[in-house]
Symmetry: C2
Subunit: 349 residues, 2 copies
């Protein structure tokens, strides 16, 4: 079989260029690529690394695993789309393409197979589930040393690379903003417990109430599923108990806006609204009437940070992202700060 | 060198399975894959097709090219995220992964290179520009027979596979809805002419006015750039001429909602608003106060259809998507129907 040197000589390029072309690495002029491919073909040259293993060379792809729910139009959910934008932006800076993969609920992902099949060089997992199979799949990835990062979900007791935001603090801030203005009858519309994010919001709510010398009234704890529809449904309860509820804190903006709409549908106008604080600070918060106070989560920066961690392997240090210091609570878990954005919906008249 | 048959014998599988494993095609049990890879490695087997050309085997990836504007948070734009969701949904049905690639404005994409480097098997191009270089790149793709589809942009006089929506008809419907109710002083806030979409909206507006025996008043033609910010800016003109303007048709919802916000900032309440019709029927339209009438564009279905066209090569026929017949105006261009959704913002009191 021909050698790499013979291919390089025939193509009139260096041996390094031959490797770069055949491994598909880096920017290469079309003319050069053509010459190398023609020379390789003419001489029947096969790079030996390729023959030994598909798995060792680089794909140039960063995998992103998303939960797939038919008809849910996932990219439209503010936090997924913002995180993906951040991931895409930083991936682009690193000359990587994004390989987006969908997983149906209940599907067991063979993450390690993605690496073995050379589909991806690194992987970001969004919307991971907190169950035994998912955990086992990630532990396998971890043991085999494949670079991956879990976003917006925390696996207790594991040392996975994780990027998340400080939802305990964000929720505490929201509650303190309300209690500081004298609100006492605060309804909390949370999402499902199966997300660590919901649990953290609950923790922050309890903390904030405690600081104000209050306790969570279980009858004011409402359950939704992060959809606007579930907010509209919760509005029935809020409307019925309007005299007992003077503020509503919702675990995302969509549910807060859903409650507002549900109240309007019942003929209750903004003048009679309880105070509202949402979560995510999505673009819908700013557009709401009245404009919705909300906890800002730096989704875009979280996406960027996840890629940086994977590219540079900078795990366990204190990071700087967008000039704000990132607290790292465990060795590999980065928590980005959240911030309360105050708008008209929660300002006591 | 060993033959495929020897590898198959050693691994205890069929020759077809050896090919499937080494080409990364179709679902294969991990156990089988491992056996084949081990046998190939042990025997030093290299599939000859691989030696001849990287370009001929399948990557299993569907490429999606998106315009990249730093900080624009692209996935958040309603129509991009909906189209991507549709693309992702149908890609998943076809067991393909999405390879998302960003292009900076002004960057000349080497589309054919993506195919040669075996990064993608087919390609969908969103946000294509209408200029000479872009056209040349696509003509090259077309000539080389690579499957690709242009979405939401029309190249006049070419026979590219295109998926778009009927914006002429959508805009005509919006105007007729207004003129039928007696609105006569209709401001039209359009986006930049460089998008074929904007030109089509203009055509539909002129057609609708003509049908009502009216003409476009050039002083009521306002220019924005599809951002909410540009709607807020246009509100200055609308506010100044409130007595001369009884309705506003905006080329997307974000601009319409921007105008509403700009009017509110100037102390003009919904009771004194002109009638409003937006475009896209994004989730923001439903959440607006008052709820915004809007032209619905089936972005999700457009994404699905683009993938179907690429997968099945069904070009030039009459398609059925979601039970609605799709009109095909040119051999390879599919135009999905638009629909006016009427809400409180445009109903004459």
């Amino acid at each position: 079989m021909a050698s790499r040197k013979e291919v390089a000589d025939l193509a009139g390029v260096s041996e390094a260029t031959v490797s770069r072309v055949l491994n598909g690495v880096g920017p290469i002029k079309e003319e050069t690529r053509r010459k190398v491919l023609e020379a390789s073909e003419q001489l029947g040259y096969v790079p030996s690394a390729l023959a030994r293993s598909f798995a060792r060379s680089k794909s140039g792809n960063l995998g992103v695993v998303l939960p797939y729910v038919p008809k849910a139009h996932l990219f439209s959910a503010y936090f997924f789309s913002e995180m993906l934008s951040g991931i895409g932006s930083k991936a682009r800076d690193n000359s990587m393409d994004l390989l987006v993969m969908f997983r149906t609920p209940g599907e067991v992902m063979n993450y390690t197979d993605l690496f073995r099949r050379q589909k991806v060089d690194a992987c970001i997992i969004l919307g991971a589930r907190d169950d035994h199979e998912e955990l086992a799949a990630m532990q396998q990835l971890h043991q085999e040393g494949h670079p991956f990062c879990v976003m917006n979900q925390h696996f207790e007791g594991q040392s996975f690379t994780e990027v998340d935001a400080d939802h305990v603090e964000g929720s505490r801030l929201a509650i303190r903003h309300l209690t500081d203005q004298g609100y006492r009858k605060i309804a909390f519309l949370n999402g499902p417990d199966s997300y660590s994010n919901s649990q953290e919001r609950m923790e922050g709510v309890c903390l904030g109430l405690q600081e104000a010398g209050m306790e969570l009234d279980p009858s004011l704890l409402l359950k939704g599923n992060y959809s606007r529809r579930s907010g509209i449904e919760a509005a029935a309860i809020v409307a019925d108990r309007l005299h007992e509820i003077d503020a509503v804190f919702a675990a995302n903006d969509r549910m807060a806006i859903g409650v507002m709409h549900g109240l309007r549908e019942r003929g209750i106008g903004p003048a009679d609204f309880p105070a509202f604080v949402g979560y995510d600070d999505s673009d819908a918060a700013e557009m709401a009437v009245p404009p919705l106070s909300s906890v800002r989560v730096p989704f875009f920066e979280m996406g960027e940070l996840a890629v940086s961690k994977l590219m540079h392997g900078s795990v366990g240090d204190t990071h700087k992202a967008n000039n704000s210091v990132v607290a790292v609570t465990e060795s590999a878990r980065a928590l980005l700060p959240t911030e309360l954005i105050i708008r008209a919906s929660s300002i006591r008249q």
